[in-house]
């Protein structure tokens, strides 16, 4: 038996109803009555304030490329403060990026010994990438603004994180994360299993930040990038399996992608 709820809801909204039979009057009347009850109990103004509060809590880490940041309903002073913090973060990022690239030794490893992430680039077939290549950055909201996180930084539930990337010549990509529960979250693109076009022109932050939940042990972020869009379905499945089998989160990135696809990751402990 089919649950008629979606159909009745859609019909009541006048949404996509052409060619479909009218639901029973009682069902439509029940929807109307429920609408009245809900809007009376939870007025739009109250809900807007609640949603604004949630957005404010999640967006305190401003993307450093401020022109891409979602519009906010915030006091002018706060916006100016955010802009100043964003400018500082951008300068810091530029400095660190140059310093890190200069520190790369002949073998492609980093002089500071970072194991992966933070610019350490691996090709799907295990080769090292030449040149700057794509990069993945994670920032955490802090009292002083945006704090860029090194690999294996310890984070905790309710930390607010902002993810950004540098395409580094690759045209398509996806950003995923997996947590200690083995849950894979796709941050970019919004949906689907295929890599989406990457923006070029510097470090690009995603349009939103994330508040960490209480998933245990680790959060690990992945940027998968390449010259052509490919399906990530197998990679996501393999990622979930690997995370479920490795409680420390230090498993090697799943070796299921075509040759030439870059995989950049950053592990955070909890």
């Amino acid at each position: 038996m089919k649950n008629q709820t979606l159909f009745v809801e859609r019909y009541a909204l006048g949404d996509g109803i052409e060619g479909t039979p009218r639901p029973p009057d009682e069902a439509l009347a029940a929807i109307s009555e429920s609408n009245t009850e809900i809007l009376s109990r939870y007025p739009a103004r109250d809900m807007r304030q609640a949603v604004e509060a949630k957005l404010a809590a999640r967006e305190r880490v401003l993307p450093f490329n401020a022109e891409q940041a979602p519009r906010r309903v915030a006091p002018r002073v706060a916006r100016l403060a955010y802009s100043a913090a964003a400018a500082c973060a951008l300068a810091l990022v530029a400095f660190l990026a140059v310093r890190t690239m200069m520190a790369r030794d002949a073998a492609g490893t980093l002089a500071n010994g970072l194991p992966r992430g933070d610019g350490a680039i691996a090709l799907a077939d295990g080769e090292r990438a030449k040149g700057a290549g794509p990069r993945l950055f994670v920032y955490r909201q802090s009292d002083s603004g945006a704090e860029r996180l090194d690999p294996e930084t310890r984070v905790k539930p309710d930390d607010v994180l902002q993810v950004s990337y540098f395409a580094g010549g690759d045209r398509f990509g996806a950003i995923l994360s997996v947590d200690g529960n083995g849950t894979v979250t796709q941050h970019y693109p919004d949906s689907g299993d295929t890599m989406a076009p990457l923006s070029i022109g510097g470090e690009i932050s995603l349009d939103f930040s994330y508040k960490l939940d209480d998933a245990p042990k680790f959060e690990r972020f992945f940027l998968v990038a390449g010259r052509k869009p490919i399906s990530l379905r197998g990679f996501k499945d393999a990622l979930a399996d690997a995370a479920a089998a490795d409680q420390a989160g230090t498993f090697p990135p799943p070796d299921v992608l075509p040759k030439g696809v870059h995989v950049i990751d950053l592990l955070l402990h909890k």
Partner: protein
């Protein structure tokens, strides 16, 4: 019978805080009813409804428009995330969904054990869109074609994902 025609779909433009009131009055009650149905807890449902709007507002730059289908699937995903989070944090809490299945008549008594195994597999599933499509298909009773339209995916993609999910459920049950 459920059907959808994209041709006549009414669209309301991108959601922002500026047009929040209008969109909330239009879609908010439907979202809350969906969250109530899945969560069976008023406080959690209200929280999930607000999270649904938060998620859509945060991603508005990539949403050319919004419609009832989008609100419905996002509300489903957000609610399932809450159920999964509760399940991971404390004890298994899928009884509400089992009751919903039983009350809707989608599964009869004999099939409830199978449904229980399937729900366990759904909440063990790591990807939230797979959880969402499984609930649309197995709980709401949408056909594969209808589920594909709601999820904006191909029918073959839906079929493949659900097939893998069922195999996982059977494997967990030792079948």
């Amino acid at each position: 019978m459920y059907a959808r025609t994209d041709v006549n779909m009414e669209k309301s433009g991108p959601i922002t805080l500026e047009n929040f009131d209008e969109l909330y009055r239009k879609f908010g009650p439907m979202v809350l009813r969906r969250c109530r149905y899945l969560l069976k807890d008023e406080e959690q449902a209200l929280d999930a409804m607000q999270d649904t709007f938060v998620r859509l507002i945060e991603r508005r730059t990539r949403l050319s428009d919004v419609c009832s289908s989008l609100f419905y699937t996002v509300a489903t995903t957000v609610s399932l995330n809450k159920i999964r989070s509760n399940k991971v944090r404390s004890s298994p809490e899928t009884g509400n969904l089992l009751r919903a299945m039983a009350e809707s008549g989608i599964v009869d008594h004999e099939k409830r054990v199978d449904a229980s195994l399937l729900l366990d597999a759904i909440f063990a599933e790591a990807q939230e869109d797979t959880r969402c499509m499984a609930v649309l298909h197995y709980l709401d009773g949408l056909t594969l074609e209808e589920t594909a339209r709601e999820m904006r995916m191909s029918v073959s993609g839906i079929r493949k994902r659900l097939s893998v999910l069922r195999k996982k459920a059977l494997r967990c049950a030792g079948v």
